[in-house]
Every structure is written in C-alpha cells, then in structure tokens.
C-alpha cells in the first residue's frame, strides 16, 4: 500500500476544492443571475469536462503547459521552471477538470433562493454584496457543501488527466489512482487491492458524512421554508 500516493491525492483534492470554492462561488453567482445574452456559451464551456474524455482535456492542458504553450511560458517567466509534470500543473488541470462538479451545484442552489427575498433585501437598503453574503450564501449552504464534496471526490478519483499532464513521478504527481494502475501493471494485485480498498473506504466515509450533514442542514434551512 502506498501511503505517499494516498497523501498526495488527498493534498491535491484539498487544494483543488479550496480553489474551486474561490472560483466557483462568484462564477456560479454570475451564471445564476446574469442576463447576458451569450451566457449559454460560458455555461457550455463550464460543462465541457463532463463530456470530454479526460485524455482530450489532458492533451490540451499538456500542450498549454508545455515549454512552448502559453501557460508554460508564463509559468517559466514567473517561477523559473516549467509547469508540466509538476504538482502545480496537476492542480491547475484538476481545477478545470472538476469545474462543473463545483459550479453546477452552486448555480442550482443560488437559483432556488426565492427572488422575493432578494427584492426584500434590496428595498431594505442592502446592496448586491450584502444580499449575497447575508441572504443567498446562508440559504445555499447545502449546495456549497455538495460542491466542495463533489470537487474533492472527483479530484481524488481522477486518472486520465493526471496521467496526461502529471506523468508518474513518485511524491510529486503519482496519485493513488496512478499507483493502483502501476501495481496492476506489475501484477502486484495484493498491494493494488489494499490501496483500492482504502480509497473505497475513505471515499464512502467522506460522502456519507457529508450527505448526512447536508440532510440535516437541508431540513433545517430549506424544508420548513418550502412548506410555508
């Protein structure tokens, strides 16, 4: 069992979830409330990773991050080393790959907030920021939790994108899913089985904990109000 790979995967998933929260909340807000006529184009872009094979996404990311790609050049200029096959590169690719899993639950929960509450907030003198922080965000807690958990879980389980942009460098880019693949390739089924089982247990524990909490939050914050 490769603890190093497991810890690397968890570290990657945590980084990605945190970044997706920061990007996803304003993006989700904009997608939920904007009346821009070309909004659907951005919605399609956000949803792309849902339908693209991870290898296709990974391929383009690899090109962009390579020494001659725009992202790679920028990174080289800023930090003095390349982006491909590094942990940072892996984080960037994973953020893109898990974007819809964070943004879509956020849009869904922002959209279900009763518009009359937003009107009420405005006529009581609150600007958009205050309305967002005091009304929309607290009423969207279940959606936010869902977004964080899905980002985390989806990143923990990703394989194709990591293989394309991360390669297989122990301690840097060798995540747990790659490690399991490696073991199977070298016919070390026992070790692959232990790691796989551990990943299964962790994933199930995290998801059930979150759904349990979410269910209570859902009841508390939503149901009585919906049934009013």
């Amino acid at each position: 069992m490769n603890i190093e790979a497991l810890l690397l995967s968890i570290r990657l998933a945590l980084c990605v979830s945190a970044i997706l929260f920061v990007i996803g909340v304003p993006l989700g807000y904009w997608l939920a409330y904007s009346r821009w006529r070309w909004k659907f184009l951005l919605e399609a872009v956000v949803a792309l990773p849902l339908v693209l094979p991870p290898t296709v996404l990974g391929f383009y990311m690899l090109l962009a991050m390579g020494p001659r790609g725009p992202l790679g050049k920028l990174w080289q200029a800023a930090f003095g080393h390349g982006l491909a096959f590094t942990f940072a590169g892996l984080v960037i690719a994973s953020v893109l790959y898990s974007l819809p899993f964070a943004v879509q639950p956020l849009i869904a929960s922002f959209e279900t907030v009763d518009r009359k509450l937003l009107d009420a907030s405005a006529v009581l003198g609150a600007g958009r920021m205050r309305t967002f922080l005091r009304v929309i965000l607290p009423l969207s807690v279940p959606g936010i939790v869902t977004a964080l958990v899905l980002s985390f879980a989806h990143t923990l389980g990703e394989f194709g994108v990591v293989l394309m942009v991360g390669g297989n460098l122990a301690g840097i880019t060798r995540t747990v899913s790659i490690d399991i693949y490696d073991r199977v390739q070298s016919l070390d089924y026992a070790s692959a089985g232990r790691t796989a089982l551990l990943l299964l247990v962790i994933s199930f524990a995290v998801l059930s904990a979150v759904y349990g909490i979410n269910r209570r939050a859902f009841r508390r914050a939503w149901l009585p109000w919906a049934a009013k």
Partner: protein
Amino acid sequence: MGREMTSRALAARVQKSFSGDAAQRFLLDLDVEVSPGITILFGPSGAGKSTLLDCIAGLTQPDAGRIAIDGEALFDSDKNVNVAPQSRRVAYVFQTLALFPHMTVESNVAYGLPDGPDTTKDARLAEILQMFRVEKLRGRKPREISGGEKQRVALARSLVTLPRVLLLDEPLTGLDAGLKASIIDDLRAWNAVHKIPILYVTHSREEVDALGERVIALDHGEIVSEGTPREVLDAPRRRRLAQAAGFENLLSGTVLDLREPDGVMRVRLADATCEIEVPLGHAAPGDQVRIAIRAGDILLATEAPRALSARNVLEGKIISLERRGTLVAARVDCGAIFTVHVTPGAERTLELAAEKKVWLVLKTHSCHFVEG
C-alpha cells in the same frame, strides 16, 4: 399637470407596456399622487397594481415617466434618473412577506439597520418590536410564528428603516377581520408620528370599506376612479371593476327611453321581456348598456308587493339556493337571471325553495349604470 405638489407626497407618472401576444398586451399608463396617510389602490387582479408598486420601489423600470418623493426624483426618463432600489428608502411589504427564513425575528427586523456600533440602533429596534407587539418573538424563526405575527414582523422590518414611502401589496390577505383591524390600528399609530404616504393594494372590497380612506381604483393599467370608498365603489364605470366591487348582478340591456324630468331611463334587459327603471346616464334610446346591481340591494317577496316606492318589481321563479357563510344566495329567473342575497332566517320564514314563485324589488337608485 398644474397640480400643486404636497410636501412629503409621492408622485408617480408611469408608462409601461408588456410585450406578448396581442391578447396579453398590457399597458400601464397613469398619473397618481399619494399624500401622507393610507391610500388604497383597488382593482381586479391584472389591473396593474403590483406593477405600479414595483415601479415605485425600483424593482421594475417604467418605459417612461417620473416618480418622485417630496419633489426628489427616483426615476425620470427625461433626465435619465433611475435610483437603485436599495437607495430609494421606499419600504415594500410583499404579499408573500418574504421574511428571511434563516434569520430570527430580531435579525429580520434589524436587517435594514446599518451595521456597526450605533447606540440608537438597539433603541430603534426595541421600539419598533414593541410597537408592533412582536418583542416576545425576538428569538423565533419565521416558521415558528403565526400568519398574523409574520405580517407584524414584516411591517416592523420595513418601518424600522424610517422609509419615505410604504408600499403594501395585499399584506393582510388571509387574516380574519379582527386581526386585520388590530394590525391596521398599529400601522395607523406608527404613521400618526411619521406621516408618510402609504399605498395599500387590495382587491378586496371589505378591506376598502374597513380602511375607509382615499381610494384609487385601477383597471387595465388606468385609473378609473378616485375618491372616498363610497364614491369609488358605488359608482363603477367599468364592468370588471363592478365585479370586483361586489356587484353580483351585471346585466346588459337596451335603453328604451329617457325620462329626463324624473332623472330616469327605462331599460329592457337583454333576451327578456322585463323592463327596469334606472338613473339617467349618458345614453340614448337604442343604446346597449350595462346595469350593475348588488345582490344585497334586492328585496325578495313571496307575494306580489303593492303600494311600494320602488319602481321595479319583477316576477320570477327561484332556480337555486346556496348557503354562503351567513347568507343565502338565491338565483332567480325573471327572464334575466338575478342573484339575490337573503339571510338564513328569511330563507326559513319565507320557506324559499327552488321553483317557488317570487317577486324581486329593485330601487331605481340601486341600479347602477355602467359604461362600456
């Protein structure tokens, strides 16, 4: 319009059209001035009442016009003025109340108060909670309080910000009369001190009677009449308004002749042989007109009445009787079908039943001539 601007008044001249298919095309086109005190905005649903409030609050933008408080423009299409809703200081209580479900009563009411240390803030909060009798509910969530209490909280939340105008969109729907009256009393007490214009939207005739102040009647996006509740409700000029105002009988007919010295005209009701005498209106013999009569203004007799001052006595037959709360609605066929309200007591003593022969008595001045 040569009107003198009252101080602290709300003036709104609003034009707004809604695109849609031709049948649904709707135009709001009106000019109102609301003085301090309660003004009732009355009309059937779809008349444009809520749209007017949305325009005043800034939640909807008129196509053209000017909205001002104390002469200060909130919206002016000529000068490109459009103040954001949060900067208008116009309070608005929605029909759904829109209390924040995740906040306590106290946080709801304090929502509109500015953040930060302010010693007057707590005092204002305590004062308004007490004034609207909700101080004991401070720690409760909206779902834990009753309908009437919610309405009180919504009013307190709106008024604690010291708005310049208060808009109420059917806020007391669904409350019994006693509860309604006590909330209105508290609102009046608050406004005795602050003296702001309050625009109260309702489609309920009872509420208009109960509030008893100035009424503006709206239909199809236009003002159709203005004045005291009696003036507005008793002289409907439009059919839909007549229905909204509780005229259960709306009959079409043809003018037979005008008797100007008597101030009356005779009208033959459509598809019927019966003729009735109604007050003189702007009509000529042969014109198609509509006559509105309240079900409660018609007398019902089981024997042919004689020696009456009422000019209209119609013979007919009861079609059906229906108990509605404390009254009985009788449908009577006199050639034209009338709805008549009688008390359950009268139903028993007169032994009313379907097929029974009856006479209806209509005073001339209970028959209202309706335009169009």
